[in-house]
Structures are given as structure tokens and as C-alpha cells.
């Protein structure tokens, strides 16, 4: 395989690739073709260095010390919050709580909002394309409050089936929790319409932004969602970085979640009072270096321009869908790259996704095989698992070609 690393329409991919040390790796004698960015993205040296620089020059606990390092660490940590807030169009950095990622963020809302607000018979509306991280926390909250879960079903081509929305979204609905972009089908649900419909019946809306925020320009004011979750590790940031956006008045009203240092105002033997938001939700020593480095990831993405990031993804996704269909792969999810992201689930002939992933790995190609934490999607389409290729700013058209060519290898092994 020769990866010529040309300039794509929207991004100078050759230059971008030079920033990602891991892309120099080989698998056996094959260059690494990393097509699993939906699971976690790779990190540019700017991000790796930002985290190392924090430890090497500014390391101290944030919001606790009077000395110079502590002031620097605090300023860097809060600057990262301001960057993340700006990146998603939040009106105020205080609307952003730092967390380990989407899973912690959804659980924060499920504990601190849902368990305080939900009553027996209240409903939470989900969709069948949700990631387990946007299902299981609600099941636990429903178990504890007596609330009921309902699901927006899927059409055969991987879209939300909104034909019966009127009977699913009612005054009983207290929350609609929906993914901004499906990690297994690629689908981009119509968030703006959904928030409008939900607000019309008085329900709040949580958008799972794990896939959306890294790949599409996002403005929470425009989307008008009440909560948005962010996974830093999927947008060039370190593992353990991320956050939760929430409208400020919600954060004020919510119960505490994790108790501990810094989230308090005063602590007495039998009770405690809370710090102001967002600190009320940041208990104990936080992921300081990681959020600082997420700030560097945001700088990187903003320098590329999120419109260009999206345009590059549309280009690669369109090309990949075309080539995969040519060779007879079955695609799960919409076929129009304009209404979907770059996570492409497929079956190639009768080769089980695990076997396919093992065979592709021998060619240096890293794809994901499994249920992608979306077992409801697997059941809906009657498969135990799918193969999934997903793209990000460093992927090339040539890598898509490599993927498609390697499928022939699987065919040879399995004689399908």
C-alpha cells in the first residue's frame, strides 16, 4: 500500500499527520492505518507536550495554593475551561463542569438531576441508537425513582423513526437523552428539531456529544440543549479529559454528586454547604493536567477550523461508503454523507467482524469489531456485531483504499 498523503480538499492532511507520532508505527512491516477514532482519537504532539509541560513546569493542585505554581496551575486549568466553553458556544465558563468524559457526564446528570427531579411514572425518552453510556445511567435512575424509559425506534436505514414522536414525547416526558451523532450508525439526528419538540412539552434535553463535538461545529446556544456531554479523548485530547455543559440555572438547582474537597463551602459534623457552580461538581483533585492538554487539543482543532474538519469527514465518508458498497459490503446506517458522521458499520460478505478485524490487523489496518456499546442497534438490525471503520483529521483517501483492498484478503481466507 502506498499512502501518498495528499492534500484533501479541506485539510492539509500530510501536515497534520506529521503531528501525530503514533502514525509512524508499523504493524509487522505494514504502516499503521488507524480507523478507530470513534473509540478514541490519536493525539498530536502539541497535546502530548502540553500535558508533559504542565507536569514539568507548572504542576500543583488547582484552586488550593497561594504560591506561584499553584497560581499557574489554577490559571491554566480555568483557561482550559474557558476554551472548552467557547468551543461549544457556551455563554459562560461556569456552565462547564470538568469530567472524565461522556460516561461520567451522563451519570452526573442521572445522579444529581434525575434522582432529585424524577417521580414515579415520569418518563425518560431515549433512542434505540444510544450508546450504553446514554442508556444504563438512566436505567439505574429509573430503578431508583420509578421513572419509565421509552425509546424512539429506528428506521431500516438507520435514522430515528420520528413518525410516532407525538405519542412518545408527552407531558410525562421529563428528559429526552439523545446522541448528537451515533457511534455505530454514523447518524446525525435532527437535534435542533428535537430540542424544540421536547421543550414544547416541558422536557429537558441531554445531547450525548461524544461523537458530535469532535466532528461537527457545535453551538449549544443554537442547539438549545440543556445538557451536552464531551469526551476529550475523542477530540485529540488525553484520556480522562472532558466535560459536561449544562444551563447554569440547572447546575444551580441540581443536587451535589461526588462529595469531597473543594466542592464544599463549609463542612460541619452533620452537614455541609456547597461551593458555587461549577465547583460544586468538581470534588477532590481533578484531572488538571488532562484538561489543560484538552485546551491544547481545542487550539489544534480551532486552527484547522471545525468547518474544515467536517468537510474532510464528509469527503472521506462519502468515498468510503462508495467503495465499500462497490465491493458488496452491507452498510448499517444512512448512505448520504451529508447527514451522517464518519463512523461506518458494515458486514463484508459472511466474514464475522472479529475475523475481519484480525485479518485487517495483519495488513496494519485497525478497525473495530463488536457491538460498539450499542447492543440495541445490533438487535434492531439482527446482527451480533459489526465491523466499524471511523475517520478523523489525519485519515486519507488512500487509507480508505487500503481498507477496501484488504477486504479481498478476508475473502481469500474464508473463501466466501
Amino acid at each position: 500500500m502506498s499512502v501518498t498523503r495528499e492534500r484533501s480538499g479541506a485539510l492539509d492532511v500530510a501536515r497534520i499527520r506529521a503531528d501525530f507520532p503514533v502514525l509512524e508505527r508499523t504493524v509487522g512491516d505494514k504502516p499503521l492505518v488507524y480507523l478507530d477514532s470513534a473509540a478514541t482519537s490519536q493525539k498530536p504532539r502539541q497535546v502530548i507536550e502540553a500535558e508533559a509541560d504542565f507536569y514539568a513546569h507548572h504542576n500543583a493542585n488547582a484552586h488550593r495554593g497561594i504560591y506561584l505554581l499553584a497560581e499557574e496551575a489554577t490559571a491554566m486549568y480555568e483557561e482550559a475551561r474557558a476554551k472548552l466553553a467557547r468551543f461549544i458556544g457556551a455563554p459562560d465558563p461556569a456552565c462547564v463542569v470538568f469530567t472524565r468524559g461522556t460516561t461520567e457526564s451522563v451519570n452526573l446528570v442521572a445522579y444529581a438531576w434525575a434522582r432529585r427531579e424524577l417521580r414515579e411514572g415520569d418518563e425518560i425518552l431515549l433512542t434505540e441508537m444510544e450508546h450504553h453510556s446514554n442508556i444504563v445511567p438512566w436505567q439505574l435512575a429509573a430503578r431508583d425513582t420509578g421513572a419509565i424509559l421509552r425509546y424512539i425506534p429506528l428506521t431500516d436505514d438507520g435514522l430515528l423513526d420520528l413518525s410516532d414522536l407525538g405519542s412518545l414525547l408527552t407531558e410525562r416526558t421529563k428528559l429526552l437523552a439523545v446522541t448528537g451523532m451515533s457511534n455505530s450508525l454514523g447518524t446525525l439526528p435532527p437535534i435542533r428539531e428535537l430540542t424544540r419538540a421536547a421543550h414544547a412539552v416541558g422536557a429537558l434535553v441531554l445531547v450525548d456529544g461524544a461523537q458530535l463535538v469532535p466532528h461537527v461545529p457545535v453551538d449549544v446556544t443554537e442547539l438549545d440543549c440543556d445538557f451536552l456531554t464531551i469526551s476529550g479523548h475523542k477530540m485529540l485530547g488525553p484520556t480522562a479529559s472532558g466535560g459536561l455543559y449544562a444551563k447554569r440555572e440547572l447546575l444551580e438547582r441540581m443536587d451535589a454528586f461526588l462529595g469531597g474537597g473543594h466542592m464544599i463551602d463549609e463542612v460541619f459534623h452533620d452537614h455541609a454547604t456547597w461551593n458555587v457552580v461549577p465547583y460544586k461538581f468538581e470534588a477532590g483533585t481533578m484531572n488538571i493536567a488532562q484538561e489543560v492538554a484538552l485546551g491544547a487539543a481545542i487550539d489544534y482543532l480551532e486552527a484547522l477550523g471545525m468547518d474544515n474538519v467536517r468537510a474532510h469527514e464528509i469527503e472521506l465518508t462519502g468515498y468510503a461508503l462508495e467503495r465499500l458498497r462497490e465491493v458488496g459490503a452491507r452498510i448499517f446506517g444512512p448512505l448520504d454523507p451529508g447527514i451522517r458522521g464518519g463512523a461506518i458499520s458494515f458486514w463484508y460478505k459472511d466474514v464475522h467482524p472479529h475475523d475481519l478485524a484480525t485479518i485487517l490487523n495483519e495488513e496494519g489496518i485497525a478497525i473495530r469489531a463488536g457491538h460498539h456499546c450499542t447492543q440495541l442497534v445490533m438487535r434492531r438490525y439482527g446482527v451480533p456485531a459489526t465491523a466499524r471503520a471511523s475517520f478523523y483529521v489525519y485519515n486519507t483517501v488512500e487509507e480508505v483504499d487500503a481498507l477496501v483492498e484488504a477486504l479481498a484478503k478476508a475473502e481469500a481466507v474464508f473463501g466466501v
Binding site: Q139, D355, E362, H371, P384
Partner: protein, 150 residues
């Protein structure tokens, strides 16, 4: 690493033509499990008679490794005394952990799965059927704990 280390002829044969793949209503033990990582599913049926495993069958879906391992397992353990079956389970696990040099005599076709050791994550596929068999022999049904609404 070469692909034929893992995708040996005999594995592909068991995958495409699984042995003893059927419901067994007369089974005395029955256990179902899946691999949460990937969705592979195996149900194992065991017909015991006293201290002997008379017959083993399976149902399931999944990759070539999990399904061929199940198929080969049913052949290897059917008609053996319980004690031998437990030894086989240990031996197979030992091979997959890379600890034990498998004896062709004991494991037969199953030795073909030795190549999977080089693919650590696929080891879970290879041992799934064996986990289920062991749980069945210990009287388990494979029910996991979890969150159910009241």
C-alpha cells in the same frame, strides 16, 4: 505472525460445518453466556449420567474462533468421565494462557487453536464455550446480576 497460524484448515472446517450444533431438550445441564466485548453467544447443553458426560451440544453465533472452539469442544468431551472433562478444561485453558504445551493426544483438533495465543483479545473467543461448559457443570445457568426495574 501469519494468518494461517490462526485460521488453520481445521478451524475453518469446524466453523463452516459445526458438529453437535443443536438444541438438546434432554440435556441435564444447560448454560448460556455471551462475550460482553463483542456479542458472541454460546449455549451449552450437557447430558450427564452419573459421573460421566454422555453428550454435549451447543448453539450460538459468533466468530470462527468461538464457534469452532465450541464445535471441537463438544467432540472432545462427549462420552468422557467428568474428571477427564475437568482435566481437559484445565488443559485447554492452560494452552490458551500460554502456560501449558498442549498434548495432541489429549486435545486432538483443539491443538489447532494454539495459534490464537498470539492474538490475546481473541483468546476470550476461544475460551467462551469452555467457560460456559464449566459453569454448566458447576450448576450455573449463566444469569448475570444487573439492574432490573422493580
Amino acid at each position: 505472525m501469519a494468518l494461517d497460524d490462526i485460521y488453520k484448515e481445521v478451524i475453518l472446517d469446524h466453523y463452516k460445518n459445526p458438529r453437535n450444533k443443536r438444541e438438546m431438550p434432554e440435556a441435564t445441564l444447560r448454560c448460556s453466556r455471551n462475550n460482553p466485548l463483542c456479542g458472541d453467544e454460546i449455549t451449552v447443553f450437557v447430558l450427564t449420567e452419573g459421573e460421566k458426560v454422555q453428550e454435549v451440544a451447543f448453539l450460538g453465533q459468533g466468530c470462527s474462533i468461538s464457534q469452532s472452539s465450541a464445535s471441537m469442544m463438544t467432540e472432545a468431551v462427549s462420552g468422557r468421565p467428568l474428571e477427564e472433562v475437568h482435566r481437559l478444561i484445565r488443559e485447554f485453558r492452560g494452552m490458551m494462557a500460554g502456560d501449558v504445551d498442549p498434548s495432541e493426544e489429549e486435545l486432538g483438533d483443539l491443538v489447532a487453536l494454539r495459534g490464537v495465543v498470539k492474538y490475546p483479545i481473541r483468546i476470550k473467543c476461544a475460551v467462551l464455550a469452555w467457560d460456559v461448559l464449566q459453569e454448566a457443570l458447576e450448576g450455573g445457568t449463566g444469569e448475570a446480576t444487573g439492574a432490573r426495574p422493580h
